[in-house]
């Protein structure tokens, strides 16, 4: 059983007291966080205060009552600092909560703290942060993945029972795969982005990290739904994700394998081996396999790094030192103030992406780059939707390698971008996907696989994942942190 569901049961059956849980948790965070650097800020006082309140006001109706959940530093909580892991927003306090944190709070969740991430969610390794890289709890010399590295590491290192991250090009699924836990990117429009710092508005989605499919389902159940504050959320009823996970099975499931994702060039042989092993498990459990094709997959990264950066250039133009955030100290004019503020406040990767996006939208290049990228994007979306009409879910690897060493790819941005080859097209299409553990490599590093579904098919994804977990439980990797 995942720790979220286990803790909830234990609290309900009075096997453990809420204050004991948090006393132990706070000690664990103090011991382990210096090693993994998952938390930027720990809400110790707040945790203690809320446990006192919840212990006396036990509300059994609240589905996540008393459960410790971590929040990525891109998602607002009223009166708390939210900084996108960026110097430009250092000290910025959210005047209002994001819809997702409001919902979690109403469901009784207790926020443990703010989780480290790549600056403005731009990165695949959680190294693009002025607050230090997040270390993989399984091997502290390696990255936890990004951009939601802190959110993944905190769950893997048992510093919360679940967390929220955001996924724009793989930023939930890749760290989930690197850290050996489950992470899900819902359909674009399933979860509200109100109060979430925008990176690429047509790609961003908030999603849960947890030990297993059922725990993820518990979180998704609370955060999903139409929101009047975010008109990109769609009027689609929220299914019973918890039931789907509880009753999940691979039997009779039609699983599509997009052939463009089953390549060996540039992919670690151990990942190829484990994905094949997972497919054997599907067959053994009574699923049927079908080969499908997403022909424009090869252009995914190129499309992503034009569309996402264009949207980012637009979204990050608001950081000008005028209304909030850092303001440069010496400036000769208004224009100079803005230029200095941005140049001092943004890190290198953020600047790179803003510039790439600005270029792709600039006069004379717009058609060749941005329009063309959107066009190929629409093709990729069509191909996913068509492939998914023939099957229940698709299955594919998540990463080309297991967690790489810290510093290994920092000086080669293109190599870093190519880590996202199996994840970005899903964001471009807007469809949902879930990353889950399928094995380990010879060093004991986690390997993840992903199920990809049709629009608003999160229940199917959770059911398939739960089915795999039941059929082929993966032993959790031994943690390197004490």
């Amino acid at each position: 059983m995942g720790r979220l569901s286990q803790l909830r049961d234990d609290l309900k059956n009075k096997k453990i007291r809420l204050t004991e849980v948090y006393d132990d948790l706070i000690v664990k965070i103090k011991t382990r966080n210096p090693q993994v650097n998952a938390y930027l800020e720990v809400f110790e006082e707040e945790m203690r205060a809320r446990t006192k309140i919840l212990e006396t006001e036990a509300s059994e109706a609240a589905p996540l009552a008393g459960l410790p959940i971590g929040i990525k530093d891109m998602i607002s909580m009223k009166n708390h600092v939210v900084s996108a892991s960026s110097k430009i927003l250092e000290g910025y306090r959210a005047p209002r909560s994001a819809t997702v944190t409001e919902k979690l709070k109403k469901a009784g969740a207790i926020f443990t703290g703010r989780l480290n991430c790549d600056e403005f969610a731009m990165g695949s390794s959680n190294e693009n942060t002025s607050f230090g890289a997040v270390k993989n709890p399984v091997d502290l010399a390696r990255t936890a993945g990004g951009s939601s590295g802190g959110s993944a590491a905190a769950v893997a290192a048992e510093l919360c029972v679940g967390s929220l991250g955001t996924d724009t090009g793989g930023s939930i699924r890749l760290p989930a795969a690197f850290c050996g836990i489950v992470g899900m990117k819902p359909t674009y429009g399933r979860v509200s982005r109100s109060g979430v710092i925008a990176f690429a508005s047509s790609l961003d989605q908030v999603g849960p990290f947890a030990d297993d499919a059922l725990d993820c389902a518990e979180i998704l159940q609370v955060i999903a739904g139409r929101d009047a504050r975010d008109s990109t959320t769609m009027p689609v009823p929220v299914e019973n994700y918890v039931a789907a996970a509880k009753n999940g099975s691979l039997k009779g499931l039609k699983i599509g394998l997009p052939k463009e994702y089953f390549i060996s060039e540039g992919v670690s042989p151990e990942i190829v081996k484990q994905t094949q092993a997972a497919i054997e498990v599907f067959k053994k459990e009574g699923a049927t396999i079908k080969e499908v094709s997403i022909p424009h997959t090869e252009y995914g990264i190129a499309v992503y790094y034009l569309v996402a950066t264009a949207e980012a250039a637009s979204n990050l133009s608001r950081y000008d030192g005028i209304r909030y955030g850092k303001r440069a100290k010496d400036f000769a004019s208004m224009k100079d103030l803005i230029i200095k503020t941005r140049s001092e406040g943004f890190g290198a990767e953020v600047k790179r992406r803003i510039m790439l996006g600005t270029f792709s939208l600039s006069s004379g290049y717009y058609d060749a780059y941005y329009s063309k990228a959107q066009y190929v994007r629409s093709k990729i979306q069509n191909e996913f939707l068509n492939a998914l009409k023939e099957v229940d879910v698709l299955f594919a690897p998540v990463t080309t390698s297991t967690a790489f060493k810290i510093g290994e790819k920092v000086n080669d941005p293109l190599a870093m971008y190519l880590s996202d080859i199996f994840t970005v097209s899903i964001n471009l299409a807007g469809v949902p996907a879930i990353a889950f553990p399928i094995g380990h490599d010879s060093k004991g590093l986690p390997i993840g696989g992903q199920f990809i579904g049709g629009p608003f098919q999160e229940a199917k994804l959770l059911a398939a994942t739960a089915g795999f977990e039941k059929a082929h439980p993966i032993t959790k990797a031994k943690l390197a942190c004490q």
């Binding site: 009047a228 009027p235 689609v236 190129a302 230029i339 290198a348 790179r352 270029f359 329009s371 807007g430």
Partner: protein, 115 residues
């Protein structure tokens, strides 16, 4: 394809150090040569124009048989959205510099129009 790191930086309101200019220049050459593979995909002028209207959710509305006009908010939703105002204090709570009086705080900035 010409790409001037300096010109783009200007458009993006960024000023780069000489080191940054050099490293970005090299990195961009690599990245742009990579994204140039999109030139292999043919696209007509009409198709290019149609991309101005592209929205990721349109295909979902179509597939699920939902009308996008449902996004027009109903009265309850409008009330909810209208209730999300910030007080003057809240709105300026993160301002680097303020002027004016409490309740009527203003963002203080360098002069835009010279005397």
């Amino acid at each position: 394809m010409s790409f001037s790191v300096e010109k783009i930086a200007q458009l993006a309101y960024l000023s780069l150090t000489d080191d940054e200019k050099k490293s970005f220049d090299t990195q961009f050459k690599g990245i742009l040569s990579y994204v140039d593979q999109l030139q292999k995909v043919p696209m007509s002028a009409e198709e290019a124009k149609a991309m101005g209207e592209f929205h990721i959710s349109s295909a979902f509305y179509k597939q699920l048989g939902l009308s996008p006009s449902i996004t027009l908010r109903d009265e309850d939703q409008m009330e909810e959205v209208n209730s999300l105002t910030l007080t003057n204090e809240e709105a300026l709570s993160n301002a680097p510099q303020t002027g004016g009086i409490p309740g009527e705080l203003l963002f203080e900035v360098p002069s835009i129009i010279s005397k």
